[in-house]
Structures are given as structure tokens and as C-alpha cells.
């Protein structure tokens, strides 16, 4: 998630950011020694009540191409306007 959250294009204000919601859907279990590849998309940015809602979607797969977990991450930045 790091590279997506820290993408300078997003200009996320970390000091004012809280984790608002999280969803995970699990597939294959992850074992020690696995190599996991995660792709993250910023799926929406919205402003509501002076707060910024940044939603990211992640998909992780193991070295055999099997999906291990899919996540939806909602981050809220307070005092955006």
C-alpha cells in the first residue's frame, strides 16, 4: 500500500489522515516463503462535510498467480476545506 499512499500526485495529508473503513476478501492462504504481488488502484476521491474520502482497491496474488486477498481501503483526511 505504501507506494500508492505516498504517491506525490495524491498529496495526501498524513497528519490529518485516519483509517475510516476496510474490507478484505480472502482467497488462497499466504504461507512463509510466498512471493506476493499487490496492485493498488485509487478508485475514488470525494469531498463530504469538509473531509476528503480516498478509496483504494488492492489485489494481491502469490507466485502461482492465485489471488490471496482483495482489499478496499477508505482513508479520511480531516479539514480538507
Amino acid at each position: 500500500m505504501g507506494p500508492a499512499l505516498f504517491d506525490p500526485e495524491l498529496e495526501l495529508n498524513f497528519a490529518a489522515m485516519v483509517h475510516g473503513g476496510q474490507e478484505f476478501e480472502w482467497g488462497e492462504p499466504v504461507c512463509a516463503g510466498d512471493e506476493i504481488t499487490t496492485t493498488v488502484t485509487c478508485s475514488s476521491i470525494e469531498e463530504r462535510d469538509g473531509k476528503g474520502f480516498y478509496v483504494f482497491e488492492s489485489v494481491s496474488s502469490n507466485q502461482d498467480g492465485a489471488e490471496t486477498v482483495r482489499g478496499v481501503w477508505t482513508n479520511i483526511v480531516r479539514g480538507i476545506s
Binding site: 505504501g2 498524513f14 497528519a15 485516519v18 483509517h19 475510516g20 473503513g21 476496510q22 474490507e23 478484505f24 476478501e25 480472502w26 492462504p29 478496499v72
Partner: protein, 130 residues
């Protein structure tokens, strides 16, 4: 494995994060945000003190469900949560789940996690395969 029907409660889970928990979780998860591990920084940005990582708190909800499945974490297929209040170290967390649907060995639950009167997770929805 116990059979559940809509309206049933899952066994309650109680856990008290110790003072060093947030640092250990920061190192394990890679989330080194100082609001979790630096008391002075947390106070400087207007928080009462270090706050728990939401994902650690979420993991306690996952644990309450895996326990029902005899400790098998693969039984938990899906979990979504809303983080509402801030969680703090050294205060007991109570995880309370109610079954909202049960069909063909799959149950769906609704969960809250509280510290005293403070709901730190609510509207959590889990799908568990038993």
C-alpha cells in the same frame, strides 16, 4: 463446530493491548505512522496519546471469528469494518458479534468492538464458512 442460526451471538472476545503493542504491530505491519508509536507526536497533533492501529483492532474481530471455526483462519472469507472511535493501549476491548444470516454452512455476522462506552469498530460484516 457449533451450528449457528440468525440472532445467535458468537462467543465474546476480550483482549487488552499492552503498552508496547503498537510498536510491535508497527514493525510487523510496516505502518510506522508516529501517531501510533510516539506519545509526544500524538499529543502534538491533538490526540490524547498513541492510538491503536485500525488494522490491529480489525484483526481482533477476525480472531473472534476464527476462534468459532476452531482456530482455522481460512474459514473467514470476507470482513469489512468501519473504524469509528479511536482505540487506546491498556484498555480492554470487547468484541461482540451477532449472526444475521446462516445458510449452507455459511454465516454472516454483525460486529462491534468497544472500549468502555467507546465503539472503536462498528457495522463490521463478516462471512464465515463453517
Amino acid at each position: 463446530v457449533t451450528e449457528f442460526a440468525a440472532g445467535d451471538s458468537l462467543p465474546e472476545l476480550r483482549v487488552t493491548p499492552d503498552a508496547g503493542l503498537t510498536r510491535r504491530y508497527a514493525e510487523a505491519s510496516g505502518d510506522m505512522n508516529p501517531i501510533h508509536i510516539d506519545e509526544d507526536f500524538a499529543k502534538k497533533v491533538g490526540l490524547p496519546g498513541c492510538i491503536l492501529h485500525g488494522l490491529w483492532t480489525m484483526a481482533q474481530v477476525a480472531r473472534a471469528h476464527a476462534t468459532v471455526a476452531g482456530g482455522d483462519p481460512r474459514a473467514l472469507k470476507r470482513l469489512s469494518v468501519q473504524f469509528r472511535g479511536m482505540g487506546f493501549p491498556e484498555q480492554e476491548i470487547v468484541v461482540t458479534s451477532t449472526v444475521t444470516a446462516a445458510e449452507d454452512g455459511r454465516i454472516v455476522t454483525d460486529t462491534v468492538a468497544t472500549q468502555g462506552d467507546n465503539q472503536i469498530i462498528r457495522n463490521a460484516s463478516a462471512t464465515l464458512e463453517l
